[in-house]
Amino acid sequence: MKLHELTIDQASRLLKNKEIGSVELTRAVLDRIEAVDGKIGAFLTVDADGAMAQAEAADHRLAKGDTVPLTGIPLGIKDLICTQGLRTTCGSKILENFIPPYDATVISRLKKAGAVIVGKLNMDEFAMGSTTEHSGFQTTRNPWNLDRIPGGSSGGSAAAVAADMCLGALGSDTGGSIRQPASHCGVVGIKPTYGRVSRFGLVAFASSLDQIGPLGKTVADCAIILDAIAGHDPKDSTSVPEPVPTFAAIADDGLADVVVGIPKAYSAAQGLDPQVGAAVDRAVKTIESLGARCIDVPLPHTDHAVAAYYVIAPSEASSNLARYDGVKYGFRDKSQADLLQMYRSTRSQGFGPEVQRRIILGTYALSAGYYDAYYGKASQIRTLIKNDFQSAFASCDAIVSPVAPTPAYPIGKTLDDPLTMYLSDIYTLSANLAGIPGISVPCGFSDDGLPIGLQIMGRHFNEPMLFKIARQFEKASNVKEKRPSL
């Protein structure tokens, strides 16, 4: 096996036993990026020199035996997580030259663990999109079929992991932005419980929904990364002071005591591709064969989740993105002599069409006379959706569903049809509204060879249950045997 094809778990053992070094491993990953990223377009910035220096430092630590599972492991970072001294664009022209003066808490924690950061990954601008076509810089292609979207908004992260251009990656998930690209690219991705991971240094989109999480080649790799980044942070007052278990110690005690809920409302949802439906049905049978008991759960307000989300998320975004005013950082239209006109001109040139659309939508929903009808109403629906999950989890330990209604669709298909793109988030965004964790794990392929993912959602702070079911399923299915040919 080639070095760049290793999982984190495998590489970590080889590093610890001094069978390979981080310099050698990182070199292999950088060579892989050089060889295939011209076709994929996953990276916005490759920090080859920085990565090699970090790899050397990791090798010194490894030589002394001062290691944790991520020491010396090359990772990619979605380009909306601040990295000190390393350009962080958020996929936007307005931040094209932004060099953060500090590290996000997740980055400090990865550095403390001795991980090697190889570069920054493409995304839909400000994480607004489900295709990565809405990047201000480039379109990322799906490694399984270069004419298809990789999903989004963490499309660069998912594509880079799938194409072996890093051993794992960080993404962020506001309405499915980790889980959906993981599903489309045939990798594993988890959105942790809201508050599980610090958002300090994460460029904000919708603050009550955003959460950072890992993407990896296996369930175990995601657990290893989550171990390094999870936990309370005084710098993020919404991070939760809950005890953090060791996620990588995934329970291997079978699924005999596990009750899995199947949401009827999801299979009835419009637009579910029969091949996705069939793959998920087969996955449910596999999970049952491992001993779990499956029951129907209602989730009666599912039909209203997309509408509620597309009021709440743009509303929060319109407020968060007010900070891009051409004064403190980022692009400024210097030709304007008047302050107000400078603001308007800077923002209109700096933001792309999807971001402007959402700012207008959110500003409208929050404006005088409309606040109660839109934001107020959507926040009440959010309570009902949260209550739906609470009732469901009274009788089951996890809920299993599709991740996306279809496999990855052709690039360009929804570019001028935002509502259709929004509707494809139907299965994922409820988890963000309710703050619960969700994982996407590969469960099959379409007839034309595109990956299909299975979503498993759980109670607040019960990521260990998701890892356990996902790991057992991963072992029982042979989906991971295939790789994209590049």
């Binding site: 003066p101 809201y194 919404t238 597309y310 002599a337 659309r357 839109y374 703050g435």
Partner: protein, 94 residues
């Protein structure tokens, strides 16, 4: 149409965005389609339902008011499009 061109321009002004004349129609149309869809929320009776602004219930996170390390002012200004004497420079306001 759900949202008029005039309303789009008003909201754009609130959001400090310039919308090119040729784009107003298309934007009103797209926002209108989304708002029509959002109106399906009115099918749900939410009388007496409290609003949720955060999914995880947290009360205020207090801490002692202690001096801590902070960014050097030069670092804080490093990304400024225009700066002078340790301050951000903006076009004239009055």
């Amino acid at each position: 149409m759900k949202i008029s061109q005039k309303e789009v321009l008003h909201v754009a002004q609130l959001a400090r965005l310039d919308i090119a004349e040729g784009d107003v129609d298309r934007l009103a149309d797209q926002i209108g389609t989304i708002l029509d869809y959002v109106d399906t929320l009115n099918q749900v009776d939410t009388t007496g339902v409290p609003a949720t602004s955060h999914a995880i219930t947290l009360t205020n996170a207090f801490r002692e008011d202690q001096a801590q390390d902070h960014l050097d002012p030069q670092d804080s200004l490093a990304n400024a499009p225009e700066k002078e004497d340790g301050a951000f420079v903006v076009p004239k306001i009055l």
